[in-house]
């Protein structure tokens, strides 16, 4: 591999990649993201390679492992080109048939096509699947075509053209102006204008400056950063190089969460490849600009997603946040000016440089520009990553793209922004999703997790879930967060346990108010959001727990009982399933007997019963 020393050489390389690429070959693009791997994608990839070798098709077919197209619910997913057929829920056993029917005979395999959820009609093209039709895929556009471990693939699809443009035709100030004009706001949660942040860091005193990529994606239910880093790491890296050039930084860090081994691997490969080509390192593309990037793996701490805690961790210290009255763009890593942006923010940079600020600002709402990737999870039929223009309504995301709620259940709430966000009830479903609107209703954009809940989820339990989560993740430095979370957890346990009183609610409210105003970092001061929005929008559920000692969703264990109904034919399934031997058979065809004293309300009997003979009261 030859190191490129000029823009011309980069153009030449791009040209040669395009010429050697055999477009006549059939291509099987198989998603190699974590979601699909969990569903056995590695087996599918292996089977394709074996089958193709066995049939001597190596010269006619390429098997490529691509990034994540986002439709995790339907994994393992793959597309076959040039026929442009989209197959879903493919397993190892289906591979031989796919090779014969599609690759050799040129036919489609009907049963592996996506069935439209309303009409049942089979859809052949990926672009026609309703999950994709309402999306606007900019950042994820190439995910299902690019092999994330191949820089040539990225170059083939126009990669590093933005860097080329920035280095040759733009001054740093010009790039910052462009970023400001685009209206891009930080995708990590805060929503701070990116261009302004870059400008402050550029103007901050000091010769040594840093750029940092935050891939410590800890919000439970959010995985867009993981997907981008796994599926298209060069787009993030290219953004960072451009940012460093604009800011005047020569060193950068990518901080990746410990739980994302594939993201670490692909980022590492991307850095090595970019260095070999001279797109990273000293004298990038002969421009005289130097920039080096290191990877740092997190140690498994949610709080390190907070910028100052992340920087402390990068310095080899305990991941404790510090007050940000002096901004990190002035005094960050090792007290030097540091510009930290999240993965998705960095990935937007090449798009803006390539297409212009005007194009970017043309997407979205007045205060929030561009697209945003959400991870749509929970009680929704099409789980996965969706990239949509800002300003789309929650209803469109959940019902049109997400396909609505599975199992004929009723929608109850959607939680956005992770543990720092809030619950949004049904009557706000037509809310236009952007930074300001979400904040207005008591939630926030956060990193973009969108967790859908149906009538079988208890909103008091969900509030308690987030408090429990944060209690396990907080750093322990400041008093209101550490002691407050402990007491908040205690109070919520009282309510879910049927011991709550009206005074407890008042205490929860004043405790939340103190945590809000006096906590040191975002983890603490946004922690009340799930609790307060649950109280605000679902007060009747709280009242049921307190006044009637009843959990309407039948979730809170101390408030429910399991009961065997008269239609129980004594099949024995629940007797076997019960972990505490609380169920005993009475005789042939007679309903079994459940001992309420022994019962731990684990729900095993309910889950195994095929005849709805177990009733939760």
């Amino acid at each position: 591999m030859k190191r490129l020393s000029s823009l011309k050489e980069l153009a030449g390389l791009r040209q040669s990649i395009a010429t050697v690429r055999d477009t006549k070959k059939q291509v099987v693009n198989i998603c190699g993201g974590t979601g699909c791997i969990a569903l056995g994608a590695n087996d599918v990839i292996k089977a394709f390679n074996e089958e193709i070798a066995a049939r001597g098709l190596q010269d006619k077919v390429d098997v490529r492992v691509s990034g994540c197209p986002g439709f995790c619910e339907r994994g393992s997913i793959l597309t076959i080109e040039p026929q442009n057929i989209f197959y879903q829920r493919v397993r190892r056993k289906d591979v031989a048939e796919l090779v014969q029917a599609t690759l050799i005979d040129g036919k489609t395999v009907e049963r592996l096509l996506y069935p439209d959820l309303t009409t049942g009609k089979k859809v052949i093209r990926e672009a026609e699947v309703p999950f994709y039709t309402k999306q606007k895929r900019v950042l994820l556009a190439h995910s299902s075509r690019i092999d994330p471990q191949s820089i040539e693939d990225y170059l083939y699809f126009g990669g590093y053209a933005a860097l080329s443009k920035a280095l040759s035709a733009m001054k740093p100030e010009h790039i910052i102006d462009e970023m400001k004009a685009s209206g891009l706001r930080g995708r990590g949660g805060g929503g701070f204008p990116t261009g302004r942040k870059w400008e402050t860091t550029r103007h901050a005193h000091g010769d040594i400056k840093y750029v940092i990529c935050n891939c410590d994606e800890g919000d439970p239910g959010a995985f867009m950063d993981r997907s981008l880093m796994e599926g298209n790491p060069h787009s993030v890296l290219e953004g960072m190089i451009i940012g460093a050039y604009a800011i005047g930084a020569h060193e950068g860090y990518i901080y990746v969460r410990n739980e994302y081994p594939l993201a670490v691997k692909n980022a590492r490969i991307a850095i090595e490849q970019a260095e070999e080509y001279g797109l990273l390192g000293d004298n990038i593309l002969g421009s005289g600009f130097n920039f080096h990037v290191k990877i740092s793996r997190g140690g498994g701490a949610f709080v390190c997603g907070e910028s100052t805690a992340l920087m402390a961790s990068l310095e080899g210290e305990v991941g404790e946040p510090r007050a940000k009255y002096v901004h990190t763009s002035e005094k960050g890593l090792w007290d030097r000016p540091s510009n930290l942006n999240n993965v998705e923010t960095w990935a937007n940079v090449p798009q803006i440089i390539n297409n212009g600020a005007k194009w970017f600002a043309g997407i979205g709402t007045a205060g929030s520009k561009g697209t945003k990737i959400f991870s749509l999870v929970g009680k929704v039929r099409n789980t996965g990553l969706v990239e949509v223009p800002m300003g789309i309504t929650l209803r469109e995301i959940i019902f049109d793209i997400g396909g609505g709620i599975p199992g004929n259940k009723k929608f109850k709430a959607v939680q956005t922004g992770g543990p720092s966000g809030g619950f949004i009830p049904e009557n706000l479903l037509d809310l236009q999703v952007d930074f300001d609107e979400l904040t207005r209703v008591g939630s926030m954009m956060g990193s973009g997790a969108m967790i859908v809940m149906d009538e079988s989820n208890c909103m008091v339990d969900m509030a308690k879930y987030f408090v429990t989560f944060l209690m396990g993740e907080l750093c322990g430095k400041c008093l209101p967060c550490r002691e407050g979370m402990k007491q908040l957890h205690y109070l919520l346990t009282r309510v879910t346990g049927g011991l709550g009183t009206i005074e407890d609610i008042a205490l929860i409210e004043s405790l939340c108010s103190t945590m809000w105003d006096t906590s040191l970092c975002g983890l603490g001061y946004s922690a009340p959001n799930p609790v307060m929005t649950s109280l605000k929008y679902f007060r009747e559920e709280w009242d049921a727990h307190i006044d009637e000692k009843r959990c309407p969703a039948k979730v809170c264990k101390p408030l429910i009982t399991y009961n065997i109904m008269a239609n129980c034919p004594n099949c024995g399934l629940c007797v076997k399933a019960c972990p505490v031997q609380a169920i005993t058979p009475r005789g042939k065809k007679e309903p079994v007997v459940l001992d309420q004293v022994k019962c731990t309300r684990c729900g095993s009997c309910f889950d195994v019963c095929r005849l709805d003979a177990v009733l939760v009261k």
């Binding site: 322990g476 008093l479 209101p480 002691e483 103190t514 040191l520």
Partner: protein, 248 residues
């Protein structure tokens, strides 16, 4: 110098000074538990929260021990809301350390008689409020970093590594002197200095004065002082009183 107003009073402070210092220079009381002039500001207790309005009109609450003074800043050290927050904070601490006389006294001052939260077993936290004064003193003043926080979050504790490795400790007692809640006890007895910390105890040998025979300093501290000062060990063989006598 920077001009600002605190509770309506005009004042000046050095650039880089914190709002807390500027307020104390005016004799305005702001409660604190984790601030001390000999160590860096940390911001753990949050009791010093004040209300500020910047020159550009932005209003918010900040911790005064960490917020640098700025031109035209208007500070209110108490409002009804801040008083309520301070009461809540001290009540949280009272639940953590229900028997601490120091906390009880401060709670009274802040208008809280008792805590609405369940009280933890006093033997659990031993009056330690995790203010980090001892760890900062040990690190920044003594330079030994013998104690630190261990574990994360609600499990955080102030301790020595492995709860029994005190190789770095010179037994100087700085942690004992700076602790605002007497969570660390220090006693000199029978030629030994004994520390009872919240989660471990340590004992160190004291040196005997070569002249008067009194036990004066821990042997480790003498070694440390000799190293820091460049004086020979023999210089510290006698206690400070005997040394003073010679000089006279």
């Amino acid at each position: 110098m920077v001009k600002l107003t605190i509770d309506g009073r005009q004042t000046e402070a050095k650039e880089g000074a914190m709002v807390l210092d500027a307020a104390r220079a005016l004799n305005i009381y702001i409660p604190t538990l984790c601030a001390h002039e000999s160590v860096s500001a940390y911001g753990a207790c949050r009791l010093c929260t004040v209300d500020i309005t910047t020159r550009s009109g932005r209003n918010r609450m900040v911790t005064s021990c960490l917020y640098p003074v700025e031109e035209g800043l208007a500070v209110k050290t108490t409002t009804e809301k801040i008083a309520a927050h301070r009461r809540m904070l001290i009540q949280l601490l009272l639940a953590r350390c229900p028997e601490s006389p120091e906390l009880k006294a401060m709670a009274k001052k802040l208008g809280a008689d008792d805590t609405p939260f369940p009280k933890e077993d006093p033997a659990k936290n031993h009056n330690c409020i995790l203010c980090a004064l001892c760890t900062r003193a040990c690190d920044e003043v003594v330079g030994q970093s013998a104690i630190s926080f261990v574990n994360r979050g609600v499990a955080r504790e102030m301790a020595i590594p492995f709860y029994n490795d005190s190789d770095a400790c010179i037994a100087c007692g700085s942690c004992f002197y700076i602790c605002p809640t007497n969570a660390i006890q220090m006693t000199d007895k029978n030629g030994k200095r004994r520390f009872v910390m919240p989660h471990n105890t340590m004992e160190f040998e004291l040196a005997q004065c070569a002249q008067c025979g009194r036990y004066h300093l821990p042997k480790r501290q003498i070694a440390w002082m000799a190293k820091k000062s460049g004086q020979p060990l023999e210089f510290f063989a006698r206690c400070i009183s005997c040394r003073e006598e010679v000089r006279l």
